[in-house]
Symmetry: C2
Subunit: 424 residues, 2 copies
């Protein structure tokens, strides 16, 4: 028995898109796979912004990792925090003191938001990477309206009714889109002292235009749609210079706001430190065209944790790229184990760019194909339902969307997880 699995112990750190895809593709390869994650759930990050903005429930976008591989007897799942890698003895080090030996190591631990050296901003401007982040943002959004309603000071009220999203990539655009919906469509008739339509919703971008990865044409369309239909103020070319409890500073200008959301920078997880490997400025490990660490062919680094170049361009940190990398690494591992011919270097096939801009509008770019408006919105919705895991989630998400579309009511408008939980 021992001999059979020799050289076949695959340890995967991180149950994101890359890690899950790799394990799926290793089915029947005769590996002994250990999947380690510090959370018990896989998170469908592309819809996390809808949890943060009251459209979806947390359980709609997250699945217990154990469940996904319950029937794969070759997969063992560990809920544990990794603290390092011992490359000499080929072991992963866990926080509880445990060690997990590997023959092949796959690191796909993703990224966190980063504040460009201003970690003190984190407190005032939460980012959106985990379920806890989403419920934190949801709580702050809803509490801001509540506090505006209770406030008797016009300046304070205005600050509570000002919402700033920093960073105008797809996540930033999608967040302001739904915040605008909340203020203009969902909440107005519920408040007595304030008119939630007075809310000032700002999308702030340091670069010259929003959705920089899209064509200038679609990016201009999105800005116009947000401003004219959504009631969002789009500020481009405005790098944030300070964030405090009172508001944000954009160079000379100060904007009083109590609700700031960070959608600007990301920083890869500390895999490069674990490995002592070369990394780019955002902490991503520089990998070979085979997605391994130079001189460590037994260590793969995938997804947002890796700096991968393909035809001179950096592969973007999106779900399809992570999945393709998981696929590719599985093929390399299979080829090595069977002694068959190795695949060529990793090639990224772009699945296009897409982003929603509020209700009934989206932008999609796929090669020369460009879509916008409601057809893009429907295409976006169908694609996302398709990529969810399992029939149950598809039904639940579809129910939430159809309900919101028909009634104008969002179903997850809960303020929970206070600053100090009363019971541990």
């Amino acid at each position: 028995m021992k001999q059979e699995t020799e050289g076949r112990r695959v340890v995967v750190i991180g149950a994101g898109f890359a890690g899950l895809q790799l394990i799926k593709e290793l089915k029947g390869a005769g590996c002994e796979i250990t999947l380690i994650d510090q959370r018990n759930h896989h998170l469908f990050q592309p819809l996390l912004y809808q949890v943060a903005t009251t459209l979806l429930a947390t359980s709609d976008v997250a699945w217990p990792i154990r469940r996904l591989f319950a029937r794969r007897k070759d997969v063992t799942t560990l809920l544990a925090t990794v603290t390092g890698v011992d490359k000499e003895t080929r072991q992963v080090l866990l926080q509880d003191g445990g060690r997990v030996p590997y023959d092949i190591l796959v690191i796909a631990t993703g990224a966190r938001h980063a504040y460009f050296g201003h970690d003190e901003w984190a407190e005032h401007a939460p980012g959106l990477k985990t379920l806890e982040d989403a419920t934190t943002i949801r709580r702050r959004l809803l509490l801001a309206f509540e506090r505006a309603e209770m406030s008797r000071d016009p300046a304070e009220r205005a600050a509570y009714l000002t919402f700033a999203v920093i960073g105008a990539g797809p996540t930033g655009v999608e967040l302001v889109g739904i915040i605008a919906e909340l203020a203009h469509r969902v909440l107005p008739e519920e408040f007595r002292q304030i008119d939630t339509r007075d809310a000032r919703i700002l999308l702030i971008e340091a670069g010259p235009r929003i959705l920089g990865a899209f064509s200038p044409e679609l990016s201009a369309y999105a800005a116009e749609a947000l401003e004219e239909k959504g009631g969002v103020e789009v500020l481009t070319g405005k790098p944030v210079t300070d964030i405090s409890a009172e508001g944000i500073r954009l160079g000379e200008d100060f904007i009083a706001t109590r609700t700031v959301i960070w959608a600007a920078g990301v920083q890869a997880s500390p895999a490069a430190e674990w490995l002592g490997a070369e990394a780019d400025r955002a902490g991503r490990v520089m990998v070979t065209p085979e997605l391994t660490v130079p001189d460590q062919p037994e260590i793969f680094v995938l997804g947002d944790t890796a700096h991968v170049e393909c035809e001179g361009q950096m592969v973007p940190g999106v779900a399809p790229a992570a999945k393709q990398q998981g696929n590719y690494a599985a093929r390399v591992i299979r080829a090595r184990l069977t002694g068959r011919k190795l695949p060529g270097p990793f090639r990224f096939r772009s699945m296009g760019n897409l982003a929603t801009i509020g209700r009934n509008a989206a932008v999609i770019e796929y090669g020369k194909l460009r879509m916008r408006g409601w057809p893009a919105w429907w295409a976006w919705g169908i694609a996302h339902i398709y990529f969810l895991i399992g029939t149950r989630s598809r039904l639940a998400v579809a129910l939430s969307w159809v309900w919101s579309f028909m009634t104008g009511q969002n179903s997850a408008r809960l303020i929970t997880q206070g600053e100090k939980p009363r019971v541990r």
Copy 2:
């Protein structure tokens, strides 16, 4: 305008079953109603145990209070914490320093769990009254299995696989029922080091039998169903004498466990202190047959906060009783405002007792009617779907139940809200 609302300012504290029902029944009565709650949502407590045990999502059992009365222009909702009542000036005092004047005050602030003078137990044995309580219990349940899987020490592993629920009223019985399902039906194939079916699930009751409010016959049936079908150990006549991080003590016996849930005692909210009114041992305000504070006819106390007697018996702390009291108080208020004849003293009409005991079994008692087994389970389910608020929740809860019933999979198996949230 001022004159019209004179004497008609009704302040309601607490958006539970009693408060909501009262406001519903005051529709069109010409009152100026202010509803104050420290949370933004009404909670459907009868199903909260299903959130704690991974069957339902938090948003399935909670609704934003503002939404419920969005179209009632006579209702203003405040998210605020009440710290007292000034009976002289007739004002409710808020934590932020605000004061809300009333002509009629309705206090329906419910109850919390109580530890019979052992508040130090709270840390080790969370109770189940809020959404945060439910996610805390869910996290602890799921983490216990995870830690058992990671443990290399057999005694520690056994302690992690021992679950104790203290108190065998309907909540305690319903909790152990689903915990047993988790261990026996949902989780087994997902773990590699442990067999979750080895879990020891204890229902501990100080009194002589479980479900003390039911007939001895149904109570015996429930105990048998839990033990034989569910794999639950039922311990009656065993008062808990200590709870610590290591386990629980029942007189001479010590049981090592890392997961204890408190479903035993409740303590009314501090309304009696606010009012300087007479209260029973559990802190419930002793009210007149008109549900008002003696000598303060303008102050009503309803639901779990009130000690109400009816035909010599104390009215139980259940949702139908709270609703009936809300109805009754609204009738009294209307009669007073219009000068019409006051209704007689409050009378409680029992809607029966019901409790589920795991999958496909329940007990129902309504007067002489007694039901048990699967017919009772279906009746229970239909009744609860019926009492949920809104079509959307009914669809979502029905989807979760049907899904779980058909696939054996629960949809809200998330470990969230860690002890220290990373971002405030």
